[in-house]
């Protein structure tokens, strides 16, 4: 299945991309996707990142479906 991945702030800088499309096996969870991204980008640590699925916050064990839009970002500092 294909999912869209969005990165923000320091993660965007480290990976050098704001948006990726990824092919993932069925049953992939958010934390598996994070581990894959870390494996592909030496030095990248997503420890402490917040995760969003289709624009809602989710815990790292949330399961992904085809067409989902996932986002990883640092703790938020708006306001």
């Amino acid at each position: 299945m294909t999912v869209e991945l969005l990165l923000f702030a320091s993660y965007r800088e480290q990976v050098g991309q704001r948006r990726l499309e990824l092919s993932l096996p069925e049953g992939t969870r958010v934390r598996d996707l994070a581990a894959r991204l870390e494996a592909e980008h030496a030095g990248l640590s997503l420890r402490g990142a917040l995760c969003a699925l289709n624009e809602h916050y989710v815990a790292p064990d949330a399961a992904l479906s085809a067409g989902d839009r996932v986002a990883f970002f640092p703790p938020v500092s708006g306001g």
């Binding site: 994070a34 703790p75 306001g79």
Partner: protein
């Protein structure tokens, strides 16, 4: 001005925020109390003179989370109109980054809802600040309150 709009207004923009316009949006005779909060770029901050802050946002999710925030507030408080506005892009010292306006028939609901709104906005809205001061620069530490982090 005879209607009684219990309406939500959400703005994510790179333009200047317009607190007076937002106050007018929610003003109606049925709602005798309007509380507004405006957050601006503070300088000096922690003793350092700030040149500017770049606000990066996940704008689609900002709107989604503004809706979540509004739902929380309406469950707890008796409200009329509600405005949540966040600016993105480069802001100088004293420029407004966030504005929240809450109308209610009751002053307590209006004041407490406004306070809750800014606290929740800081926890929920996917926005990141890159602060440039005269000494150094970097991403500002944020809040992980919204969800279990990785």
């Amino acid at each position: 001005m005879t209607d009684t709009p219990r309406q939500d207004y959400f703005f994510v923009t790179e333009e200047r925020l317009e607190p007076l316009r937002y106050q007018q949006l929610v003003s109606a005779p049925a709602y005798g109390a309007v509380t507004s909060f405006v957050g601006t770029v503070r300088s000096p901050n922690k003793g350092q003179v700030v040149r500017h802050i770049d606000y990066q946002g996940y704008d689609a999710m900002m709107y989604t989370q503004m809706k979540v925030l509004a739902g929380e507030l309406r469950a707890r408080f008796d409200l009329g109109g509600l405005v949540v506005a966040h600016r993105l892009g480069r802001l100088g010292p004293g420029e407004a980054s966030i504005a929240i306006v809450v109308a209610s028939p009751h002053r307590r609901d209006s004041l407490e809802a406004c306070h809750a709104a800014i606290d929740r906005a800081k926890a929920l809205l996917p926005v990141w600040k890159y602060e440039v001061t005269e000494q150094d620069e970097g991403w500002v530490a944020g809040s992980s309150q919204a969800a279990e982090p990785l």
